[in-house]
Symmetry: C2
Subunit: 379 residues, 2 copies
């Protein structure tokens, strides 16, 4: 929505960075976890180039945290995910799936371990606070589950490392991929992690006191300007290039991890119980009936992401749907994530896609569409 | 957002009436339960007058249903709400609160009993599907919990009864307030209930097969046009006049039923257990620390609903916040729902409210602000 449409009540929350993002040029917002998220600072292709060439600062306060503490916190968190957490250290982060009893995906968050019995689940768009509190009711485990006053920013892009060093000193360069550190900036309490939703070098900065939202945003932008930092938003182009999921688009409660090729996040052989274990074991044994694939669409550059799930046919029979599609100006290709019947998930195969502008040919290709390591190796 | 901004992917769902509402003039949408809801067909005051004088048809497919079936369905549903359901008949609807173990409100839905062990929970904006599935995990109860393909419309306003008779025949006039009936229209499968979120005479029409969305919308509009039916949206003006809650604005997980004056929805003396019983008993014994009040603001007509929670002070001390405020063109007053410390909840008391345009005086008044029965009695 546009800036003049912000106001239809208090039913949707505003981020502590809301005023700052409007001041810095946010023109359009979406809604995620009952909160506004800026999704438009002008041209989305420019935002993409800002991200891949320099750095962008994104308000992702919509990534609400579910905080789990208490003597049984570690046991409880393991109950929530099929991923083996037995070796997860304090200070570590993990990308996890949260599944229901049928093995369906409820969320694909980042799990942060702040202390032995202190976890944050940094959410995609669903009320895992309610899921976790619901599971706890009859679990017999001693846990406390709340939404703390925590609001993340994402500082992403190749220059983000230099900006972080200017902000936090050179030792921040030692922070490893998917690790976190407790920090402060001019007394503002933070958690900093080397994570993000961009497939680029990047950091997430979790503000632990929302009254400092404006000050934190301005402090980071000031440090970043000499490095070319721009205000921005999560880039659909870059995340699709990287094959990253957008929950509700590429996965939902009816999607299981094997369909997404994410079996590595399901550890059926661990001793601990987790919700969905029996169902996932059965799906694993039988093999998933659908598979996520990559597609390259043979048509003129798409003017923007798909606004519908586009049907995919092969020999006139529907075999699946495009879940996320966009034109990549770097690859100069229309790339798409899609879910199809397993029989149709054949690399190199040709299919037809019914887009908003008609039927186009498409080829099944590998994901991710762009991987800097592979590109370098090939160069 | 505006019509040209609909498209940033498939992450937010579209209602089966989406195309119809755009065709009929929807200009702006909000997001509710991960789905677009039309919130702008032009002037909101005109929408209010259309509702109170004639009738409006509203796409409320965002009221997603949680379907609970299975041999223990009735026991499970009672577990979810403090309201006594022991006398709830098949065919009846009830306004209920769903509370967590701390007595905090997670949702304020309509519960529908379609059969002995077949319930729908027609939701406000939170993922009660996840809450219910989570509670079920260790509950030991034999239930199946899903989101069915059900998409409600609201037909609301004084002419809605006549339109319903034209659609369904004269016997629909017998449908009592908060009762439901299984119906069909030209073979389109429906549930019809005499409920709504408008404080006016009205019906909800639950489409049970989304492929018929467009046909159903057009059929109702065609029947309604001779009666002055207009496409519309839920009216903030009318619902605030009626003292109806908007979840996240007027209540959230930190609000308990007693604070809202909704003790009638909490039956502590029933034998059955429900989630939050112990916490609510304690709150009831101690008395709530806050109370919802009505306010009349002494200032020029507000240009639209409040976009922030406005602080309320009394003698320079903050005592609470305005949660929903709007100008009522019928009452010619600025009316507001607010949550204040119990000591400040005194009818007739004066407070100060810090609006976007400065500090204004306000008086504590009774809710609802407008009650046709009282107005008639006084007349």
């Amino acid at each position: 929505m546009h800036a003049d449409d912000f106001g239809f009540g208090t039913q949707i929350r505003k981020s502590p960075y809301f005023d700052a993002t409007v001041r810095w040029g946010a023109q359009g917002f979406s809604v995620y976890n009952h909160m506004y998220i800026p999704r438009d600072f002008g041209d989305p292709e420019q935002n993409f180039w800002n991200l891949v060439n320099d750095a962008i600062l994104c308000d992702v306060a919509v990534e609400r945290q579910v905080e789990i503490t208490g003597p049984d916190a570690a046991r409880f968190v393991q109950l929530l995910t099929p991923r083996d957490l037995s070796k997860m250290a304090v200070g570590q982060c993990k990308y996890i799936l949260i599944t229901n009893a049928q093995g369906g995906i409820l969320n694909d968050p980042i799990l942060l371990r702040l202390a032995e019995n202190h976890f944050w689940i940094s959410l995609a768009d669903s009320d895992i606070l309610l899921w976790a509190q619901g599971v706890a009711v009859h679990s017999g485990l001693d846990v406390t589950i709340t939404e703390p006053d925590v609001s993340p920013l994402q500082l992403q892009g190749p220059k983000s490392g230099l900006i972080m060093q200017d902000l936090f000193g050179p030792e921040i360069a030692d922070l490893r991929y998917y690790w976190l550190r407790e920090m402060d900036l001019d007394g503002i309490p933070l958690i900093v992690s080397r994570t993000g939703w961009s497939s680029e070098l990047g950091y997430e900065i979790y503000l632990r006191d929302s009254t400092h939202g404006d000050a934190l945003w301005e402090r980071i932008m000031a440090a970043g300007l000499p490095h070319g930092l721009k205000p921005g938003h999560t880039s659909s182009i870059r995340r699709i290039e990287g094959g990253m999921l957008s929950y509700h688009a590429d996965a939902d409660i009816h999607t299981n991890p094997y369909e997404l090729g994410l079996g590595r996040l399901v550890n059926l052989d661990i001793e601990a119980d987790f919700i969905g274990k029996a169902a996932l074991a059965q799906i694993h044994a039988e093999g998933p009936k659908r598979q996520q694939i990559g597609l390259v669409l043979d048509c003129a550059p798409l003017s923007g992401p798909n606004t519908r799930f586009w049907p995919i046919t092969q020999n006139g029979v529907q075999v699946g749907k495009v879940t996320s599609a966009v034109y990549s100006p770097r690859l100069q290709k229309n790339i798409a994530l899609a879910m199809v019947d397993t029989e149709a998930a054949v690399l190199g195969a040709q299919v037809e896609v019914t887009t908003n502008s008609g039927v186009v040919g498409a080829q099944v290709v590998e994901r991710p569409f762009y991987d800097p390591k592979k590109t370098i190796a090939a160069a």
